[in-house]
């Protein structure tokens, strides 16, 4: 019989429980409550979101589709206020919901130090996405940040805020940073590395008050030292969130007390994650939570399982600060140390040994062997035979070479590869044998490397060892040989790190060449001007010749010149001016283009400014027939002349062309407006096509008639011309902001999905913001490049003319 399972809290632990249940096709009807406005995401990865290396979308674990597929009833942004154990119901703002089994996964709440000023605006904690976003928002105006707490979370917050340009001070109560995971020496190296990044660290610093009138202004320390602050982040610790359980009369100590089956004192109520206490222990790292989740899922399905806490290891997710610690490294009777230091390289390793076994390890600077040491600790391996060399790591044991693949090959099947998910080498090998032959497939089947991601390299090595020559390292296609980054990564970096110049990108993204190449420079130039229209100055030397010289280069080195004809409408005067120019500059070919205008082919380089000047005089501007930008808006004659026309298609086309011309886009952008569904303007094979109907305008996108021939897909239908203008601007801006350089709209649409674009355009706030950003950019770029070049024609002239006589 189907049982009703109610889950309070959509975090990583309860999310994993649900995954196990659904994988086993257990017979539960699940209702999920979450106080946050969203479902399950990978909380460990908030630090990369803060630093700008990832976005929220990258770290979502369960999306709306996943909940829908598994028929989970979701109540997000909903607090559960009470549990009635007798009636077996929970109460929330959505009413009462009854359960057969209840799972409490309320996680933990940040500890707020009880000082004056703790509730001021600008004092935040670091726990969830909202906190992260608040920090990102606060960092936009720069200024000073004080982070209270020099533990794992505090330091990740500090590094992220420093990365975003804030002046950061870390206050730590104890004598050295991360004292629970690091000894003093490693704490010192960490402090030195953070200080190199401009972060100030104050240890033994006790906060006495937070000062400010309506928002935070300063932090007062014991000893009356005052630190100015625009933002204060409290990261001093967490405590299990147990209020619901206490109110319901469950047994609660520091956390909700559970047995080895994760059952609370009420047999129908279970608890998992940071809110539980087992055997006097609390849990804050993800690995034991996942162990709990597995045991709990089995308990719910009446299959026997027992939770046993394991040794834990810690890594810091701050790029450039490599540290690793595991086990117990306090000094004590009968304990010995082996220490290795290389101060110049900033490398430190310390092993703590008791009874010929390693019981603790601290590593800083070079942590590649961390998992190996962790294995020795967990398995209580007797190291007396390798004591002389053990500190140097696995490469030096038994004379084995330091080839990472052979080290991985030598690992036994029960060696743990993924600490977060407790996945051993053998499970990975089995999954590979069953057909998961790339990282993505392995991740989805085994979860290995799917949480914090630091073991991705190891998982790839297992793949390489297992598959041998069949293994191709699964890398996304980098932009070009100058970088390992993909277009998508690059766009994210440019936005997140606010990179506003080519050298800034080359520096921040580790370019391998001094100034890029013909592939990456035009792409970067576009990304920078699309994202920072006001700050970035277009670099002509990073443009293909056509866009630099505002004409199309032909195979003999001459150029073609195409003046704009708005919506395909011209006048006798314009035609006369074009004819005169063709005569004057001896243009060999005059051709009508597919975009309803006239092409003058075979103009010499040095004549370009003069012919443009003549055309300018007649009121014509560049047609951008050469650009990755708006080309033409093709129209039919519409209601003015046509007996079938339903709307003024020509007039609308001209309006669109006048609004959009001059804008740069990832690839060329062609529009069409047809006055009725007979579609004489061929609008349904354009990048953006508008077909007028009696009731309004059908706007469709993603057509093509080149190497690929595609019909457009309907984006939306609107009633007025004003709405057409907004939708077209918004979709163009979204394309500019998100697509890969040289992807036409149809390729971009295939990647992000028509539904995503529809959601962007359909949300009126998002649409208005896109329109505003488009209009802002157009204040810079809606200008005639011909007129600008006529004013300074120098580059088109030869630098010098030499008349050297031939030698006798």
């Amino acid at each position: 019989m189907t049982q009703k399972l109610v889950v309070i809290g959509a975090g990583m632990a309860s999310g994993r429980v649900l995954e196990h249940l659904f994988d086993a096709e257990a017979d539960f009807e699940v209702t999920l409550f979450n106080a946050e406005e969203r479902g399950n995401y990978n909380r460990i990865m908030l630090s990369p979101v803060l630093s700008g290396e990832k976005t929220y979308e990258d770290i979502v674990t369960h999306d709306a589709d996943w909940y829908a597929t598994n028929a989970v009833t979701c109540h997000f942004g909903t607090h559960v206020t009470a549990i009635d154990r007798a009636a077996k119901t929970v109460t929330s703002s959505k009413g009462t919901t009854s359960y057969d089994k209840l799972l409490i996964a309320t996680g933990s709440a940040p500890f707020i130090i009880p000082v004056q000023g703790k509730d001021l605006h600008g004092v935040i904690t670091y726990r969830d996405l909202d906190d992260t976003n608040a920090m990102i928002e606060a960092s936009k105006s720069g200024g000073k940040a004080v982070v209270i707490g020099g533990g794992l979370l505090g330091l990740e917050a500090a590094a992220g805020l420093a990365e975003r340009g804030m002046d950061v001070t870390v206050l730590h109560l104890m004598g050295h940073l991360m004292e629970r995971q690091l000894d003093e020496a490693a704490g010192f190296l960490l402090r030195r590395d953070l200080e190199k990044r401009g972060i100030t660290v104050k240890c033994r610093a006790s906060t006495t008050a937070i000062l400010g009138t309506d928002k935070v202004e300063a932090v007062l320390l014991e000893g009356d030292e005052k630190l100015e602050a625009d933002l204060v982040v409290m990261a001093v610790g967490i405590r299990p969130e147990t209020r619901l359980a206490t109110d319901a009369g469950l047994e609660v100590a520091r956390g909700i007390e559970v047995g080895a089956q994760l059952q609370t004192s009420d047999p129908d109520i279970f608890a998992v994650g940071e809110c539980v206490e087992f055997d006097g222990q609390l849990f804050g790292l993800v690995a034991p939570l996942y162990d709990q989740a597995k045991v709990l899922a089995n308990s719910l399905m009446d299959e026997p399982a027992v939770f046993t806490p394991k040794e834990l290891s810690t890594k810091l997710k701050v790029t450039g600060c490599d540290l690793f610690s595991a086990g117990d490294f306090a000094e004590g009777e009968g304990r010995e140390d082996i220490v290795f230091r290389d101060p110049a390289r900033g490398v430190y390793r310390r092993l703590v040994i008791e009874d010929d076994c390693i019981i603790g390890a601290v590593m800083y600077g070079d942590t590649a062997d961390g998992n190996w040491f962790f294995g020795l600790i967990r398995d209580k391996t007797d190291i007396s035979d390798m004591r002389d060399t053990v500190i140097f790591g696995p490469a030096y044991q038994g004379g084995a070479p330091s080839d990472p693949l052979s080290a991985v090959a030598a690992l036994p099947r029960d060696a743990e590869i993924c600490g977060c998910n407790g996945i051993c080498k053998g499970q990975i090998e089995d999954a590979i044998a069953a057909g998961a032959t790339d990282i993505a497939a392995l991740r989805s089947q085994t979860k290995a490397s799917a949480s914090c991601g630091t073991c991705t390299g190891l998982v790839e090595q297992v793949l390489a060892v297992t598959l041998g020559d069949d293994f191709v390292l699964p890398t996304a296609q980098p932009v070009c040989g100058c970088t390992d980054m993909t277009h998508e990564d690059l766009r994210r970096m440019i936005k997140a790190q606010e990179l506003k110049s080519l050298p800034a990108v080359w520096q921040a993204c580790n370019w391998k060449t001094p100034c890029g190449c013909h592939t990456c420079r035009p792409a970067l130039n576009f990304y920078l001007l699309a994202d920072w229209p006001l700050d970035y100055e277009d670099d002509p030397q990073s443009r293909f010749v056509n866009e630099r010289k505002h004409a199309n280069i032909q195979k003999d080195g001459t150029f073609s010149v195409v003046p704009r004809m708005w919506g395909g409408i011209t006048t006798p005067d314009e035609l006369r001016a074009i004819a005169d120019a063709a005569d004057k500059y001896a243009v060999p070919t005059v051709k009508v283009t597919g975009g309803q205008r006239i092409d003058l082919l075979g103009v010499k380089n040095e004549d370009l400014p003069a012919i443009w000047d003549d055309l300018n005089q007649a009121g014509m501007v560049s047609g951008h027939a050469y650009s990755k930008g708006l080309r033409t808006v093709k129209t039919c004659v519409g209601t003015d002349h046509c007996r079938f026309g339903t709307q003024d298609s020509t007039g609308l086309g001209i309006q669109l062309e006048k609004a959009l011309w001059g804008s740069w886009t990832p690839h060329k952008l062609k529009l069409g407006v047809s006055g009725c569904p007979r579609n004489c303007a061929e609008a349904t094979c354009k990048d953006i096509g508008i077909v007028c109907v009696d009731s309004g305008y059908q706007i469709s996108i993603g057509g093509a008639a080149g190497m690929d021939v595609r019909e457009t897909s309907l984006l939306c239908q609107v009633a007025t011309e004003a709405e057409v203008m907004d939708v077209v601007k918004a979709v163009t801006q979204s394309y500019r902001e998100n697509a890969k350089y040289l992807d036409r709209i149809y390729k971009w649409m295939d990647k992000v999905g028509l539904e995503w674009i529809q959601a962007q355009i359909g949300d009126l706030d998002t649409r208005a913001a896109l329109v505003a950003r488009f209009d802002l950019s157009q204040t810079i770029y809606r200008k005639d490049p011909w007129a600008q070049h006529v004013a300074k024609p120098a580059p088109y002239e030869p630098l010098a003319t030499l008349t050297l006589e031939a030698a006798e």
Binding site: T513, P514, C515, G516, C517, H518, R521, P522, P540, Q541, S542, R543, F544, V545, N546, R548, K549, I553, K555, G557, N605, A794, P795, P798, L799, A800, T801, L802, T803, L804, E805, A806, A807
Partner: protein, 111 residues
Amino acid sequence: MSTWIDIAALEAVPQRGARLIKTRHGCVAVFRTAVDEVFALDNACPHKNGPLADGIVHGKAVTCPLHNWVISLETGQAQGADEGQVATYPAKVSEGRILLDADFLQQRAVA
């Protein structure tokens, strides 16, 4: 002995750009790199005579605008899998002026 002739101010050529010099026997392209070195090459790609001066300059190389052949500015040699070579001429910058070697240009005229 080389006879250096003054062509123009260095600033007349944009960084990572090129300008043309007309001679009786065709055009020579003068390139300026991001670090202000100058190079002079025939303005014709060995592939299909593309105008190299219109290409994108990167490092000490230029990419031909017609079919993306990459030509070394130092040797005139096509890079990568492509084969071919463009004539190069001695060029230097002195006191902010671009100088070319007249003797070499003259030999070109004879050839």
